[in-house]
């Protein structure tokens, strides 16, 4: 399912993940994930903790180490990442492929100034002088909204707030002008107002620079604010995918419906308890037979326990919408 743009010509996807699995011993926390992202696209990968979304991100970055092993195919801009040597992969990381992490408080090295850490990243990917790199680091800090960047460039991480550190991490990720930026729950550790600002910043950067973004989150509201495509992960699989609006308006997987149902709505009745999803997500070591969502699913029938659900494309469109459910054609009832 290559992406076809409006003119009908086939646009090569920037990122094309096929049958990506992550194994550790007998356990497979990521089981055959497919993702497609066009250049400049913004995709939210949504799921509960333990759904395999962070592992998927780290696998794309090539940051997983033994005993974790990665199988399948990850093609970025026509290059199969899993075939690269460690050295070639290191050259991609921070270059055309960059990441912003979950925990800005401990993701910066405490003994170096932030400027030095950004300069290091710039100079790893481009042969420029220290002075030029420093100038560019200041510009990047300005771009990500850090006030007084000329002074702040010499600050140490502990002198900055969590939100500012995350901005520094974003500046660092942007320093080699990546084509793909992976953001792994970049706002989880931040307070709510800061969360919104960071999301808006990333959206602006994506639009200004044409950077494609994979935004990993458990927060559907943030995903909606930011992304044009959604992939919902459950039990190590993508169980529903599609463009953001159709997926939100007409979810085809019971899990997506449940997630949307448990969202807090401003127009809702404040006295009403929010619906929750009963049970807890499956452990990768103890997956049920058939559909992994079955034990918690309101729609489950006998077939769900016996047969692994097929991927049903409900709307082929230029960007297909589909779900991995026996009853995906039913739609919202």
């Amino acid at each position: 399912m290559d992406v076809v743009d409006e003119t009908g010509t086939e646009a090569a996807p920037l990122l094309r993940v096929r049958d990506l699995s992550v194994r550790v011993g007998e356990v497979t926390p990521v089981r055959g994930v497919d993702l497609d992202l066009p250049p400049g696209g913004r995709m939210a990968v949504v799921g509960e903790s333990g759904s395999g979304k962070s592992l998927t991100a780290l696998a794309i970055m090539g940051l997983l180490k033994p005993p974790l092993t990665v199988e399948g195919s990850i093609v970025l801009d026509g290059v199969e990442l899993l075939d690269l040597s460690p050295r070639q992969l290191a050259a991609m990381r921070g270059g055309s492929l960059a990441m912003v992490y979950q925990d800005p408080m401990s993701s910066l090295n405490p003994v170096y100034s932030i400027g030095r850490q950004i300069v290091e990243c710039i100079r790893l990917h481009e042969d420029v002088s220290r002075a030029v790199a420093r100038r560019r680091a200041i510009d990047l800090l300005h771009e990500v909204g850090i006030a007084d960047p000329e002074r702040r460039v010499d600050s140490y991480p502990h002198e900055l707030s969590g939100g500012m550190r995350q901005r520094v991490m974003i500046a660092m990720a942007l320093s080699a002008e990546p084509k793909l930026l992976i953001a792994d729950e970049p706002t989880t550790a931040l307070d709510v107002t800061t969360q919104a600002r960071i999301v808006d910043l990333m959206r602006r950067i994506s639009e200004d620079r044409g950077t494609a973004v994979v935004f990993i989150t458990h927060d559907l509201a943030i995903a909606a604010r930011f992304c044009d495509q959604v992939a919902v992960m459950y039990g190590g699989r993508v169980v529903e995918f599609g463009e953001a609006e159709p997926t939100y308006d007409d979810p085809r997987h019971p899990y997506t419906r449940a997630l949307l149902g448990s969202m807090c709505r401003l127009d809702g009745d404040v006295n009403e308890l929010l619906p929750t999803i009963p049970g807890s997500p499956p452990l990768p070591a103890e997956l049920p037979t058939g559909c992994s969502f079955r034990p918690r699913c309101p729609r489950a029938e006998e077939v769900c326990a016996e047969v692994f659900p097929p991927t049903v494309i409900t709307d082929p469109g230029p960007r297909p919408h589909g779900a991995e459910c026996h009853f995906a054609q039913e739609g919202m009832r």
């Binding site: 990381r93 992490y101 910066l108 405490p110």
Partner: protein, 319 residues
């Protein structure tokens, strides 16, 4: 920072006073009498009169607290007394020996770091591999080896059997620089290897701690190979904790110097001390031990100050 340093200095001074009392009492509790030792060396049998006269001359007939106060009064004015045996001022004797000891200790520390840092880094670069296990096994063996034994072993191999290096002795660097370095090599290696082992172990384990930090993932994420990330981002953080540990090892180093100098005939404080013990030369022993204790305290104070300068979190908090 200044207040911190002053407080540490005051604490150190108090500790030195206590140390001086302990040395003073311990030496006098030890069996052996300096007066008899000295008379025994010159005449076959000292008469009681001669013994009493010498005791009075040396001030050893006064009550212990008076003797202690006399000594302390001298120490505070820079007078450490005279050697009972040679009659030279103790400060002169010590002053002559300090350079050789400092040189040996410095050579040993440098050598220890030159060995320990690469060993620890390579282990952290390939954790859990054969290499890692071999080096950590080697480190354990090196930690178990007594210094004097290693010294004798090196002499037996490199001096006696292979005849590559001189077994023991000393010439001034200014007279014969090459021979001086050749003589320095074996004692420095003896001390360096036994110091390198605990440093390598400590650094290896702090590198392991540091390796799990998220900023190490960031370092890889920006395009560094794991080996580069360990050196650039792991090592500075790991060295900071190791530095404090090296300060604590200074005590072991000073103790080792005494033995190793004696084995190799290196004319430093160590061999001075061993001779003084043999002659129950209280003046020299008190002076040397007090000086070594002060040295240990100063080294650790300097390391704490350096730690504050190296660690940006402490640096800013204190200024």
């Amino acid at each position: 920072m200044l207040r911190f340093a002053l407080r540490r200095l005051a604490g150190g001074a108090l500790l030195l006073v206590i140390v001086s009392m302990v040395i003073f009492v311990l030496l006098r509790v030890l069996p052996g009498d300096p007066v008899l030792m000295r008379l025994g060396a010159s005449t076959s049998a000292g008469t009681e009169e001669a013994v009493n006269q010498l005791r009075q001359e040396l001030g050893l007939d006064a009550p212990l607290p008076i003797q202690y106060l006399d000594w302390m009064r001298g120490v505070l004015t820079g007078d450490l007394g005279v050697s009972y045996v040679s009659q030279f001022p103790v400060s002169t004797l010590i002053g002559q020996r300090i350079p050789a000891t400092l040189q040996l200790a410095a050579a040993a520390i440098v050598l220890a770091l030159v060995i320990a840092v690469p060993v620890a880094l390579l282990g952290a670069r390939w954790p859990g591999t054969i290499y890692d296990r071999l080096t950590s096994g080697g480190v354990t063996v090196a930690m178990a080896i007594p210094q004097f034994w290693l010294g004798l072993l090196l002499v037996s191999v490199f001096a006696v059997q292979l005849d590559w290096l001189p077994a023991r002795g000393y010439v001034a660097f200014t007279e014969q620089p090459v021979e001086h370095l050749r003589l320095l090599l074996l004692p420095a290696v003896t001390l360096g290897v036994t110091l390198a082992a605990p440093i390598a172990r400590f650094l290896r384990s702090s590198l392991a701690d540091v390796s799990g930090n998220l900023y190490m993932r960031t370092a890889e994420g920006k395009g560094l190979m794991w080996g580069q990330a360990i050196v650039r981002h792991g090592l500075p953080n790991a060295l900071m904790t190791t530095l404090t540990f090296v300060g604590l090892l200074a005590g072991q180093l000073l103790g080792g110097v005494v033995l190793v100098e004696y084995v190799f005939g290196w004319p430093g404080l160590g061999s001075l001390t061993v001779d003084a013990i043999a002659g129950r030369d209280y003046g020299i022993l008190q002076g040397v031990i007090l000086l070594l204790s002060a040295g240990f305290l100063v080294i650790n104070l300097l390391i704490d100050l350096a730690y504050g300068l190296l660690n940006p979190r402490i640096r800013v908090g204190a200024s």
